[in-house]
Symmetry: C2
Subunit: 326 residues, 2 copies
Amino acid sequence: MRIGIYGYGNLGRGVENAIRQNPDMKLVAVFTRRNPEDLVIGTPNVPVYHVDKAKEMSGDIDVMILCGGSATDLPEQTPELCKYFNVVDSFDTHAKIPEHFKNVDEMAKKSKKVGMISVGWDPGMFSLNRLYGSAILVDGEDYTFWGKGVSQGHSDAIRRIEGVVDAKQYTIPVEDALEAVRSGSAPKLTTRQKHIRECFVVAAEGADKEKIENEIKTMPNYFADYDTIVHFIALDELKREHSGIPHGGFVIRSGRTGKNLENNHIIEYSLKLDSNPEFTASVIVAYARAAYRLNNEGKSGAMTVLDVPPAYLSAKSNEELRKELL
Amino acid sequence: MRIGIYGYGNLGRGVENAIRQNPDMKLVAVFTRRNPEDLVIGTPNVPVYHVDKAKEMSGDIDVMILCGGSATDLPEQTPELCKYFNVVDSFDTHAKIPEHFKNVDEMAKKSKKVGMISVGWDPGMFSLNRLYGSAILVDGEDYTFWGKGVSQGHSDAIRRIEGVVDAKQYTIPVEDALEAVRSGSAPKLTTRQKHIRECFVVAAEGADKEKIENEIKTMPNYFADYDTIVHFIALDELKREHSGIPHGGFVIRSGRTGKNLENNHIIEYSLKLDSNPEFTASVIVAYARAAYRLNNEGKSGAMTVLDVPPAYLSAKSNEELRKELL
């Protein structure tokens, strides 16, 4: 399976590493908007090209993995590139998925390629678990908790405050809320009851820390609805202690069965990830395998993780899977 | 979707209840090897027939759900009944799945029906999670723990000991082993380190309890390789405190990514079930929906949970799923 990487940030590097872990895949090229000469990648003897060259390589690449951002890159890139390639993206603006799906579907059906969108863990593995849980336990409630992990968006929001040099924000699920859900009591939980936001902030010399803390805690959408903890620390401590990008979370289905719905059941799926982009990349690479196989069977159009038969993700044969995993 | 239930024990009753929770399904008939006149089922106005009548009803039932046992019933029933119906079974003798699959596949391809086998939670949802986990985290280890829950086979084994009136055996995962796995340390665990077996035993009056306890603890395959705890209790206590059939367990994938595999990730899936047969039934009913839809699209042959696109399980449309769950 010949793979291309389109965009080389944290996610692109994660995909590069994940390809190395899958012997049935080969990295053919990395495409960048930067000057290709300036980009040093982690795999020896793999060329780096400018994105403009991608279209010429339609015959050399089986699946192009799109590693751009959901805000502006993917809404344009995915429909455009699936004219030439099977593609996988990690489009994660939940509210805009139906629109993105439609745009990709139209193009991919014309080109007879597979456009696998919104692959990762949320959307992605978490979506799958919401689906399995709700299809099995029809009478029940879904709960998704995120963390403990770094929210890039919230960290950025803090950095935009005057007097802030740098910042890192952790989203932390509230343990009591998790326990209440696991008990089967099907609690109704407010935003504040589900997650805490903990911020590590480096203030500029002479900045008004009280004012910064207040601005963070009252920031609408980002922090106002949460219990927020703010720590001011030195820049070297931030770099030393908070440079990782861990994440994770929980999808819990609490449901009832029986003649009088007298029996409770809890299905819980959780992730604890040292590196958010590397895990996302690992999911993407497995779905690249599926996209390739589905296309080889004549399938085309947009798809999501909800559409893919699980066996298509594995390098093993169906016989091996039934024998070893079932 | 018109459903038949073939076999009416704990699982059959669970399926009956699950059908009631799914408005797109209708129970058409229950088939039994007993005298149908003697069987009172939980759904009013649904006929009970002798199993011999099933074949005549090929045109009246979209999916026949087979609720017999894996030892002798299903190896015969599933290949036979998929001549006439789409079928779903919960065949759970892991070592014989390849053979069962082959037998069902042959018949179902001839009859152009879908034969969905080994549906439930293990095999079933646990298999799915072993597959997803290993396809995503290629460098890693799989761990499956069962319990806390009642093992019917182990309870039966105790009951066969001379001087035992009744017994219930709980399989309990060892908390320290779970924690070691969750830490990402990828421990090698022996049988003894993973599970404890706790037995509640009612001895006959005058029976030699020490001898019974020793026979249990040294029983090969069932108990000899485990730390086993034996409690002797009175029959009324057994009936009062141990009449439920709870179960559950954990599938954990521990894996590594990164240039030097320096980042650890833990994927954990767990079930906590008040009623093992009712949960199994709920999984089966969701896969009955999938079997029906796949057959309507022209698919036939044997399948397992590994082959079914997740969206086929849900009563919701693909558009709804993408909008609400993805």
